[in-house]
């Protein structure tokens, strides 16, 4: 289950981008279909990781990108949630154009409450 390794990599990278004096609240990750990420497995791994590292609750949003396909016969380009093996023109000469993206897109952080701000 590569989702645990990916969850660890997301958390490591996200922590590096948290400004001093802030706390991580959420992360948004974008993944292409070739990465074979199971969303529920990633969420399970993420929660297990937060527990293991005693991290406060951090929400993980996974944006799953569709396949970008190209028909080499008619030239049509389209998006599909599944890898397609046939074009509308009946050609089976289909190629995927990309699909291996795996990026941390944004993080959300909150300021850590200081004793002074709590008192006020």
């Amino acid at each position: 289950m590569h989702e645990m390794s990916i969850a660890e990599a997301i958390l490591d990278l996200a922590r590096k981008h948290v400004p001093p004096g802030s706390v991580l609240r959420s992360v948004t990750v974008r993944a292409g279909p070739m990465r074979g990420i199971d969303p529920s497995c990633l969420q399970w791994a993420w929660q297990a990781l937060l527990t293991e590292t005693r991290q406060t609750a951090v929400n993980l949003t996974l944006i799953q990108l569709p396949w970008h396909l190209h028909c080499k016969t008619c030239g049509r380009r389209w998006e599909s949630p599944q890898m397609a093996f046939k074009c509308q023109c009946s050609s089976e000469d289909i190629e995927p154009l990309d699909g291996d993206d795996l990026q941390l897109v944004t993080i959300d952080v909150d300021d850590v409450p200081t004793p002074a701000s709590v008192a006020n």
């Binding site: 289950m1 590569h2 645990m4 390794s5 990916i6 990599a9 997301i10 490591d12 990278l13 996200a14 981008h17 948290v18 400004p19 802030s22 990750v29 070739m34 990465r35 074979g36 890898m83 093996f85 089976e92 000469d93 289909i94 190629e95 995927p96 699909g99 291996d100 795996l102 990026q103 941390l104 897109v105 944004t106 993080i107 959300d108 952080v109 909150d110 300021d111």
Partner: protein, 218 residues
């Protein structure tokens, strides 16, 4: 407050892989990462490959498995430079595993390093180890639909092997369907049918390794 990042999640792994690659190149080592499902014949192929390359090249092997020393013991018959990496719960090797294994092998005394990844058609593909080439292995007993179901390994491999062709008369494997699926996903990747068990097709595989090694050295 939202912070824009847009960075590769596996950036750290890729950086470590880059260090491994630099280290291996500096030592003049050509390296292969062997990927395939459990039972597809990775270890037998490594054994037979070592047999054919021994005497001509100085060979090293890093073997990844969740548990046991069994593959390293099998391979140690053919090479003195074998390191077993047990990943525990991890379903794939990562770049830092190779960095650690290279502490136990003197890369300057090698010409070729074979890395046998953990048996898995999915997870290892996305993790760069610092290798020169990725070798994806399918087998006739695994079914002719495995290339279509695992597009990432087909797209990312520098060469694909169809192992166990000696069993073709005994299994319902449509080679035309398998090859058509591969060509849709990766039009140019070399596909080498062979049987590590009988030796059929092994010459083409050995020639491919030697040609790729020669390309890397020029």
């Amino acid at each position: 407050m939202q912070v824009q990042v847009v960075e590769n999640v596996l950036k750290l792994n890729d950086e470590v892989a880059g260090i491994n690659r630099h280290r291996l190149h500096a030592a003049g080592v050509f390296s292969l990462d062997i990927l395939g499902a459990p039972g597809c014949g990775k270890t037998l192929l490594v054994e037979k490959t070592l047999q054919r390359l021994a005497g001509k090249y100085r060979l090293g092997v890093i073997v990844g498995d969740l548990a046991t020393q069994r593959d390293a013991d099998r391979i140690a018959v053919f090479s003195d430079n074998v390191v077993q990496v047990n990943t525990g719960k991890g379903c794939h090797l990562e770049a830092h595993h190779i960095t650690q294994a290279l502490e136990r092998i003197d890369a300057t005394k090698l010409d070729i390093l074979i890395i046998e990844n953990v048996g898995n058609l999915i997870c290892p593909v996305g993790f760069d180890l610092g290798q020169d080439v990725k070798v994806g292995i399918f087998c006739t007993t695994g079914g002719d639909d495995k290339a279509a179901k695992h597009p990432y390994i087909v797209k990312e491999s520098n060469v694909l092997i169809l192992n166990k062709i000696d069993l073709l008369p005994h299994v319902p494997f449509r080679r035309d369907i398998f090859e058509q699926d591969i060509r849709r996903l990766n039009a140019d990747v070399p596909l080498l049918p062979l049987s590590a068990h009988t030796g059929e097709g092994m010459e083409a595989w050995i020639s491919w390794i030697e040609a790729e090694r020669a390309k890397k050295k020029t």
